[in-house]
């Protein structure tokens, strides 16, 4: 591995001070599961690395009636196994369970998954569908950014070099809500989504009060399928409506062809996985 200096801050403030001085040539490491391979293969060559493992605040996971507060350094494994997340935010728990392997998930963090900003990030679609906000700390204090505005491109986010993602705030879904995340991969473990789809539905008086659908690995960033969402809202959620929404979701995809799958195959997967996740979300909402 190329050489770098390593800072070991013990608080968010310590971390911000370091980033203020060295942010331009620094990378932040949380779990390291995305960063270390990129340091080893030379894709990233920072002179300075800031380790977050000593910042206890970032590992807090709070659940109450308002919703979830997930510290940026909460691991994928914690998200997979937390019974409160499994019950009320099942799409998120399912996405956490699909990251890497157990050995990876015990290290990999939700903040790292988002800040690495891969189009295929598994925890991004459920958090987009749940309308999460990113809490970002910087020299001027904290700001909140809706996750839908957080991603700027492949491996690019709104984070400035002197800023740190500290927390995700996820509002609690209303009564009669359900969600689901599915991805397609040739292997179940240690693979990267060919396509990932998260759906989140809320029912009220026999119709869909709210629909949120988010897609991974079909555009430069994880994206919402807003046309599909709008087609569902205000209507009874029938198999025909689900099929129509799945068709509309394909329009939100701008996939590329690569070794994982052709653009045509990815569009097909968007339709199939949107249909399946909406069907499961509907069942979980207590149809």
């Amino acid at each position: 591995m190329r050489r770098f200096e390593l800072a070991l801050p013990r608080s968010v403030d310590d971390c911000l001070k370091t980033l203020a001085k060295r942010g331009a040539d620094a990378k932040v490491v949380a779990g390291g599961t995305d960063l270390l391979p990129q340091l080893k293969n030379g894709l990233l060559r920072p002179a300075f690395v800031v380790d977050l493992s000593g910042v206890v605040l970032l590992r807090r996971l709070g659940v109450n009636r308002q919703g979830l507060r997930v510290g940026a350094a909460v691991t994928a494994r914690e998200i997979e196994l937390d019974p409160r997340i499994q019950k009320d935010y099942p799409a998120l728990a399912e996405s956490g369970a699909l990251v890497g392997s157990i050995q990876i998930r015990n290290l990999a963090t939700v903040g790292g998954n988002l800040c690495n900003a891969a189009p295929s990030a598994d925890m991004a679609p459920p958090l987009l569908a749940l309308e999460a906000e990113a809490v970002i700390a910087g020299p001027q204090g904290k700001r909140r950014v809706p996750l839908v505005d957080f991603f700027q491109g492949v491996r690019r986010t709104v984070l400035a070099p002197d800023e740190l993602l500290v927390e995700l705030v996820v509002p609690a879904p209303k009564a009669r809500s359900g969600g689901n995340y599915l991805r397609h991969t040739p292997r179940r473990e240690l693979d990267i989504a060919v396509v990932g789809v998260a759906s989140q539905l809320t029912l009220s008086n026999g119709v869909c009060a709210k629909a949120r659908i988010a897609l991974a690995a079909v555009a430069p960033t994880p994206v919402r399928a807003t046309a599909a969402e709008q087609a569902l809202e205000g209507q009874p959620v029938t198999p025909e409506q689900i099929e129509r929404a799945a068709e509309l979701a394909v329009g939100a995809a701008q996939p590329i062809s690569d070794q994982r799958g052709s653009a045509e195959f990815r569009r097909h997967l968007v339709r199939v996985l949107t249909r399946r996740t909406l069907t499961t979300a509907l069942a979980r909402a207590g149809h």
């Binding site: 200096e5 779990g31 390291g32 270390l36 080893k40 380790d51 000593g54 392997s101 050995q103 240690l190």
Partner: protein
């Protein structure tokens, strides 16, 4: 570039060692501490040969910086059992002839040991799930499953005694 002082617990011993800031936990274990049980297969977290326990949980030691385990407890295959008192999993691996080339065995054993610590009576799908992050290029998975299943019985029998 200045080395940093790493203080942690490794296999129940308090350890203090100087490491480079860019040294991985796996390299510190193997090169600085002489614990060559954990192996580097891929170096990218894909094979599981470097699996060790961090505070009781299995992790890929090739994806962590050594300094990230400061103040924490690491266990390697060297600390799972002793030559004269093998862990039930190690004993079962020997009797079932699980190791072929043997390169993946330490990682598989650490993954399985973490499973049995959390879940002493795993089902076969649970065992498969627990070792899904470990690749065996000799493809010796059937014997692994048999040995882990048997050791799970032995572990629980011992706990009951």
């Amino acid at each position: 570039m200045a080395k940093q002082t790493l203080k942690c617990t490794i296999n129940d011993d308090a350890v203090e060692v100087l490491v480079q800031p860019y040294t991985t936990l796996l390299d510190a274990l193997r090169e600085d501490l002489g614990l060559t049980g954990p192996k580097e297969g891929c170096g990218t977290g894909d094979c599981g040969a470097c699996t060790v326990h961090l505070d009781g949980k299995p992790i890929a030691s090739c994806l962590m910086l050594a300094m990230q385990v400061r103040g924490r407890a690491v266990r390697t295959i060297e600390g799972l059992g002793r030559a004269d008192a093998l862990h039930p999993l190690q004993d079962a691996f020997v009797r079932h002839g699980v190791p072929q080339c043997g390169f993946c065995s330490p990682g598989v054993l650490m993954a399985a040991a973490a499973l049995l610590a959390e879940n002493p009576h795993p089902t076969e799908p649970e065992i498969r799930y627990a070792i899904a992050g470990n690749l065996c290029r000799c493809t010796g998975y059937t014997k692994m499953l048999a040995a882990i299943t048997e050791a799970a019985g032995a572990t629980s029998a011992r706990e009951g005694a």
